[in-house]
């Protein structure tokens, strides 16, 4: 089993008008761990799906050991010695480990009868070699996520993968499982397997990599050695793009009317998604929750709205408890809510713009008489809001799905801001929105603040956070890393988003970088 050199030359991948990868060059030397670092949406997964034969590149070339190859599907990539562990595991939940490993590559006796014993033996061999501790006859859905990931790695190794792509492998792992994975990667490398490690977590990348390539907005923006400072990597990853300046008067925070106290939210399996979080938002202030996608922000806002089960702790609005209330009750108590994904949670695509503008207001007496909708009032409301929020459309009766992303978002915001609020929550208020609309939406959010409403923003875009926030709360793995002023530095926020609490991050920035980094990282936060 020799090692393999992999080279990507000028890989471009377009989805319609969207360029996910823009002329990316990447060389993975044989036997190295090469990290691909970048924020969510930077184009890392797209690039790897191209490499694994799932997407066809719009332009560019893949070379394996200096020979150009084309992959028509995953089988071709596997045949060329490339294995991939997807972020969302490709495992059949009701199958055993052995069955999953065998699938597509089955050892059979006469008449196609499965010889799972052979597969079991291979699994045991690999398990023994790398200390995996995987039972070939365990059923996948009964296994912890970390073990499932090892099964994915075994799947690749059984097929003699010499280059292993790990796509955000730590995103779903507990810290302990992450440590174990890092050990495994070291062993694989020692055994001659090259690894492409995709991550946005600086500390992990620094800990495992031989070399680091940083991607931002579909382009390679630089390469770095793992000895580079965390600050350096963070600024490469997040970028220092000139942000749109927003005319924003200083906040005049009033009373802290919205308070989250010791909030813990668990999933059905009993794992904490939001872990003992406490903070508050004052009237006339914008608090932005920053963090990498999937660190509990979504669950936090859903919990406030009353969409989550297994909630412990307290959420107070004007002294009234929101935990245990229905969504309707929460909305009626004066909460405006802009969900993170407008197409699945914010809008009914086949409904007209006018209908979507009253999606959570249709029952109010302004828009209905008894059981009858007041069509005239709804139309009047729509005309006013379309005008006020500058929604670009021919007709209020057009299905909302026909609007551009920015105009759809204006519809959601217009609806949620069209009644007196005691709290305004907006998740990813400008995701997938054109630049012109971003400015407009930001102004509206600030205007709501200036009316004295407490505003809670969730955003994974650091630019947006810095632009809007009066204070910034950073979440990492469901835990609050601290609440810092709105004018905090990107470096500080980057470190906190990577799992350092506010004091640690500040100390880190103050002192000499690399030496202290390892010691700080070793301590529990």
């Amino acid at each position: 089993m020799g090692t393999l050199k992999l080279e990507l030359k000028g890989i471009t991948k377009r989805f319609g008008s969207l360029i996910a990868n823009d002329a990316i060059d990447l060389v993975v030397q044989s036997g190295e761990i090469h990290s691909l670092l970048g924020e969510n949406g930077a184009g890392k997964s797209t690039l790897m799906n191209v490499l694994y034969g799932l997407y066809e590149p719009s332009a560019g070339q893949i070379l394996v050991d200096d020979r150009p190859v084309t992959f028509n599907g995953p089988s071709d990539a596997m045949a060329a010695g490339i294995g991939m562990v997807h972020q969302h595991f490709m495992l059949v939940p009701v199958f055993t480990v052995a069955e999953n490993v065998a699938l597509g590559n089955e050892a059979t006796g006469t008449g196609g009868i499965l010889d799972l014993e052979q597969t079991r033996r291979k699994i045991r061999d690999i398990s023994a070699k790398y200390g995996f501790d995987v039972d070939p006859d365990a059923v996948i859905e009964d296994l912890p996520v970390g073990v499932q990931q090892r099964v994915e790695i075994i799947k690749a190794l059984v097929r003699d993968a010499r280059i292993l792509i790990l796509d955000e492998p730590t995103a779903v792992l507990t810290p302990q499982e992450t440590d174990e994975l890092i050990d495994i990667m070291g062993q694989l490398k020692a055994a001659g397997t090259s690894i492409v490690f995709i991550s946005h977590k600086l500390r992990e990348v620094k800990a495992v990599s031989d070399r680091i390539t940083v991607i931002r907005r579909g382009k390679v923006v630089g390469t770095a050695e793992p000895s580079a400072s965390t600050t350096e990597l963070a600024s490469l990853m997040v970028g220092r793009s000139v942000s749109l300046t927003l005319d924003k008067a200083p906040a005049r925070p009033g009373e802290e009317t919205f308070q989250i106290r010791n909030l813990t939210v668990m999933n059905d399996a009993g794992q904490a998604l939001v872990d003992n979080v406490t903070f508050s938002v004052a009237k006339g202030e914008i608090v932005a929750v920053a963090g990498v996608q999937g660190n509990g922000q979504t669950e936090l806002t859903e919990t406030v709205l009353g969409l989550r089960k297994h909630v412990h702790g307290s959420i107070l609005l004007d002294g009234k408890e929101l935990v245990g209330r229905s969504v309707r009750q929460v909305l009626d108590s004066g909460v405006g809510f802009v969900p993170e994904d407008r197409t699945t949670d914010g809008l009914v695509g086949s409904y007209t713009i006018a209908e979507n503008l009253v999606l959570d207001l249709y029952g109010k007496k302004d828009f209905s008489r008894g059981f009858t909708l007041n069509r005239a009032a709804i139309a009047k409301h729509a005309a006013a809001k379309i005008d006020e929020f500058d929604v670009r459309t021919g007709s209020a009766e057009a299905p909302v799905a026909t609007l551009s992303g920015g105009n759809q978002q204006k519809v959601v915001l217009a609806r949620e801001l069209s009644r007196p609020l005691k709290l305004f929550i907006a998740s990813q208020p400008t995701r997938g929105v054109d630049v012109g609309s971003i400015e407009f939406l930001h102004k509206r959010i600030v205007a709501e603040r200036d009316q004295g409403t407490p505003v809670l923003i969730v955003s994974t875009e650091l630019d947006e956070v810095l632009e809007l926030a009066d204070r910034i709360a950073v979440l990492y793995a469901g835990r609050l890393m601290g609440v810092v002023p709105g004018d905090s530095s990107r470096d500080l926020l980057g470190l906190m988003m990577a799992g350092l609490n506010a004091e640690e991050a500040q100390a880190h920035l103050a002192g000499p970088d690399s030496a202290r980094a390892t010691t700080t990282e070793g301590e529990p936060a």
């Binding site: 694994y52 799932l54 997407y55 599907g73 995953p74 089988s75 596997m78 991939m84 997807h86 490709m90 495992l91 059949v92 939940p93 009701v94 199958f95 069955e99 999953n100 065998a102 699938l103 597509g104 590559n105 089955e106 059979t108 008449g111 196609g112 009868i113 499965l114 799947k155 507990t174 810290p175 302990q176 992450t178 440590d179 890092i182 050990d183 070291g186 500390r203 992990e204 800990a207 668990m266 059905d268 399996a269 009993g270 794992q271 904490a272 872990d275 003992n276 297994h310 793995a477 799992g499 390892t518 990282e521 070793g522 301590e523 529990p524 936060a525």
Partner: protein, 430 residues
């Protein structure tokens, strides 16, 4: 290498999810048994005749005193319910054998109660089972068609249509050729034709699979009805000639056919009866022990995973739906080549939907579907056997049993009926 890179997470308390449905259902049924079988049980006896005249070995009749049996059954049911309660308390779930034992016990109690309460008070078990096979056979073929389709991810509501198409074509072709086997082959082809439409519309055109199934049933009913009027009623010299199929003869297997009860039930059948038994075994084996089966199950559970491992999802589905059609078509031939002597309109009479029920109640497993079909067949036949007698419970309620049990199964009240995860979901690559 740093091993404590990330901060340690606080200990997470895991919730034990307890499913109380099983003990609750057991408790209710046990209470029912207590009141109906034991306290209010009829005073007489239930006689089960185990042999028919002319059997090589004559077994004595089994005579059970009704109330005593009821009391025994009730006590055991209560014990099992208590056990289920304890298991749930401890582990959150109950073991499989509990449900099976409970079901068998309850059915025994029910049958003794019914038979002891009727005016005849005795029943021939052999007759009950052999009669049941007339229903069981097409149900099993239909269920196997469903197994193949749904295991690969295509919902097959069109089983009824496949059976009907098979019945019609078998009769027509066997009449024309004078050869029952030719009819059998033609029935398979007809089933494949129905399946082809199901596959094209649901896989190629991504039409909702349930709609296609429902509509195909109507289409086949209309088509066979129309052609029945047009062709099968043509008379030559005063006799219809296109609806007089030769029969598939019964082929008793020596020795085996003399086993009490089992012999007459399973080993005095036509070739179709044996084919059914073979298919149940072969499909079960193929599904769980071969490469073919592994891939099919993967496609039905997680098509994307199968795809990334190089399995062609839609081709697998297409082939399986066609194979299912062939099997259901052959099952349809049973109606006209074995059960009765000619085709009549809508002669499948909803058995295709009982096949669907058996498939679900049998948890999408060929053997499970076979056992469910046996249960449903016996219930159905008991109903017709008792239809003239005065019984404590009307036969129509027995006939509801398959459907009621299936509703309980899909509601998760009895067992856990979990369909293949991707069943009914079209696969679009990318």
């Amino acid at each position: 290498m740093s091993t404590t890179l990330a901060p340690t997470a606080p200990a997470q308390d895991r919730l034990i999810v307890r499913n109380w449905k099983v003990p609750v259902v057991f408790g209710i049924l046990a209470a029912f048994a207590l009141v109906v079988f034991a306290v209010l049980g009829p005073g007489g006896t239930a006689t089960f005749r185990l042999s028919q005249d002319g059997d090589a070995w004559q077994l004595p009749n089994l005579v059970l005193p009704a109330r005593a049996t009821g009391i025994v059954v009730t006590v055991l049911c209560l014990a099992l319910a208590a056990l289920a309660y304890r298991q749930t308390q401890r582990t959150g779930r109950t073991e499989r054998w509990l449900g099976v034992s409970f079901a068998i016990l309850f059915v025994i109690g029910l049958m003794v109660w019914i038979i002891a309460g009727t005016n005849t008070q005795n029943i021939t078990l052999v007759g009950l089972f052999t009669g049941a096979m007339l229903i069981v056979t097409p149900i099993v073929f239909g269920s196997l068609s469903g197994v193949l389709c749904e295991r690969s991810g295509v919902v097959n509501i069109a089983i009824e249509g496949q059976l009907l198409a098979g019945a019609f074509t078998a009769s027509l072709v066997a009449s024309i050729t004078g050869n029952a086997l030719a009819g059998l082959v033609a029935a398979a082809v007809a089933g494949v034709a129905v399946s082809f439409l199901l596959a094209v519309f649901s896989i190629r055109y991504l039409v909702n699979q349930i709609i296609v199934g429902v509509v195909l049933n109507v289409l086949v009913a209309g088509l066979t009805g129309f052609l029945f009027e047009k062709i099968m009623k043509i008379k030559v010299e005063g006799a219809t000639i296109y609806n007089q199929p030769p029969h598939l003869p019964n082929l008793p297997i020596p020795v085996l056919s003399e086993i009490p009860i089992l012999g007459p039930t399973f080993f005095r059948q036509s070739i179709l009866g044996y084919l059914m038994l073979v298919l149940v075994a072969v499909i079960w084996f193929a599904l769980y022990r071969t490469r073919w089966g592994l891939r099919i199950r993967a496609v039905g559970e997680h098509p994307q995973a199968a795809d990334t491992m190089g399995v062609n999802v839609n081709r697998t589905r297409f082939r399986n739906v066609l194979a299912g059609g062939a099997i259901a078509g052959i099952g349809g031939a049973y109606f006209t080549l074995v059960a009765v002597s000619s085709f009549s309109k809508d002669m499948t009479g909803g058995l295709g939907f009982i096949a669907l029920a058996a498939l679900i109640f049998g948890r999408w497993n060929p053997v499970g579907a076979f056992l469910a079909a046996l249960l449903f067949g016996v219930a159905g036949n008991l109903q017709s056997v008792l239809s003239i007698a005065v019984t404590p419970v009307d036969g129509h309620f027995l006939a509801m049993l398959p459907y009621a049990l299936t509703i309980l199964a899909v509601s998760g009240l009895v067992g856990r009926a979990r369909p293949p995860a991707a069943s009914g979901v079209p696969y679009v690559k990318g």
